[in-house]
Amino acid sequence: MAQATPRTLSASRTRSQVIWAQFRKHRLAVWGARILLVLYTMALFAGFFSTYDANYYETYPPSNNHPPSKIHFRDPDTGAWSRPFVYATKRTLDELTLQPRYIEDKSQGKFYIHFFVRTPDQPYTILRLFRGDLRLLGVDKPGRLFLMGTDNFGRDLWSRIVYGSQVSLTIGILASIVSFILGLALGGVAGFYSGRPATMSLPLTHLFQPGVGARAWLGAAVSTLLWLAIIAGIIAITVQFLQVTHGFSLLSLIVVALAAWAVWGIARGLLWKPIRIDPDDVIMRSVEIQSAIPDLFLLITLRAIFPPSIDALFSFYLITVLLGFIGWGGLARIVRGTVLSTREQDYVTAAQALGASDRRIIAHHILPATATYVIISLSLAVPGAILGESGLSFLGLGIRDPYVSWGLLLQSAQEGGFASFTDRPWVLIPGFFIVLAIVAWNFLGDGLRDAFDPRKRQ
């Protein structure tokens, strides 16, 4: 008789192995991931990959609006192959447009491009932890190496793009994290407590029923005071509005009617009908109102609340938070939907029957079920945030000097008017990097979605 072979456990591929195999089939996503890996490595070691400091320029000889340096691979006299080198340039002014023109000045000899050059006059740090002055490429002075030309101050554009990637690429991720925290918390609460309104205030009539103790009276006094304060606030805002708008119009009628409706609702709640508020209603209606306003418009409006001339570093944090605030709604919707369906699962009831608290059930049993959706929508939200930052900076409301971002570079590109695009087209290169990063993120998100979706598996 044949002996029964012992069954081996967990011989099949794990879930993460399946996802990884599926992801690798999406070739565009793999390329997106590779490009992002290169871009983020570049951002992390910006000092090393740039040729100069982002804000370095020489006043004499000036090098403003210098075109990309011509890199020679052959000796012009003999025609023989040689190490790549550049010539120094001589600056002249165009007689017609008064724009600088640069001509190669061979008299100073060849400036060979060296690898791993030290620039002691322009030290940098990595993550503010490691100091260094080693750069990947460079030429000896007084030669200059402008891989992608210079801006109108003479600052090297390639170096500025590399340093700008630090802001542009991280702001997308940071803003997504802000969205993630807001969306997960609010979407989770909305979904879990949907249909179970919380009693915000009990009416006064309730207090005169038998068996109501002193604690209930105290609680009622506090909550009544709070609600009265809210009424006072509504009235104050309405009066202020009427004063600002001077006189009677349809709009003021609507505002007065809305205020009266709110005050009436609260007063009725205080007197005889309990005020019950479903957190799902409050949160989801706010998401809907927010999503009805165009994103860029909302972004500009929110930015306008703060003074335009704030500290450059603070404005970086501000932009991050604003972008995160714009993006949380979509995530909250996804989380709420998943939570709504998950909370009806038997295993949630089973966990309740084991004595788990609401908090534990949300954190341990419900939110993990949303993980795949969250990962996907986050990776698709990052490009939106990058684009939003570029848009704001382009409009002059975002990142400012001395910080650099790709959007800011594009803004300075259009300073010379339309002529700048024909006279010095290299200033548009930052736009190419924006497109590259966004396309790469989109492909990555797309690939992740397909990899996590069991219906798309082959």
Binding site: T349, L354, G355
Partner: protein, 342 residues
Amino acid sequence: MDDKRLVEVSDLKVHFFTDDGVVKAVDGVSFHIDKGETLAVVGESGSGKSVTSLAMMRLIPNPPGKIVGGSMLFRGKDGKVKDLVKEDEASMRKIRGNDIAMIFQEPMTSLNPVYTIGDQISEAIVLHQGKSKKEALEQSAEMLDLVGIPEPKKRLSNYPHQMSGGMRQRVMIAMALSCNPSLLIADEPTTALDVTIQAQILELMEKLQKEIGMSILFITHNLGVVAEMADRVVVMYAGRAVEEADVTPIFKSPLHPYTMGLLNSVPRLDLAAEGKIRLEAIPGNVPNPLWLPSGCAFHPRCKYMQEGRCTTDVPVLEDAGNGHMVRCVRWSEIQTGEGVKV
């Protein structure tokens, strides 16, 4: 409460306030469970048996459901008698899983797919016994061994999808029993399993009941399972208990027409051998809980229905002797056969 009593539910009422009206899912149910006893609650779908079990755990979704009346006295492990209707949420959490545990109908969906078996069994142990994760995992392996799962240590790191239905139900039982509850509520624990596995699970439950000495509230519509497991039986119909007795009298001499109908609708091999191939069925369906019939809720489906009495008089639960309770206006007439036309 009597010393040997574990649970005493009296006049429990659970209503669901829906947009269409009030659904009286449980409307005045009373029963008791002694220590170490198995009480079976039997009835068709919609008779209120699952709602009763959820009410004992205070897990009725609110809104729309609410316990509107009655009391559920329960003797905790500490010996104190508590009324589960009046306990607050925090102390209910301590009771759930620790004093009263529950196993569900669907072992396929009652385990969280994203956690390992070990994580899920140790959850209750960590919650109620304050043990470290490591100790809890060791105890989980012992529990898996107890419920007859081979290689318990290896199985701890398995995910639910790597197990069969019967194995998962064993895991559910291990989870439920991990804190030595004094009452186990089993809500149709074998319905989703195939017949051979059903027998194994029932045997396992009986064995563990003897070892741990807990009481079981067994919810089912399967009368074969009732005969196997129960000490006493409560038959429910439309939110009310219609008959309550020890298990033998229920099968030997049922008093309520509904219980008789249920028994007649079970396929029987001995009758089939005699040539009675056709099964008797109870005509009609369970009434819409929003529009319960007047009088006895069972009268539209009852073959002993008498116009003018069953349609108007609301029957009360009467003692027919030896603690055999029945809720029927005509039960004694049906017993003696007086004036009953079929």
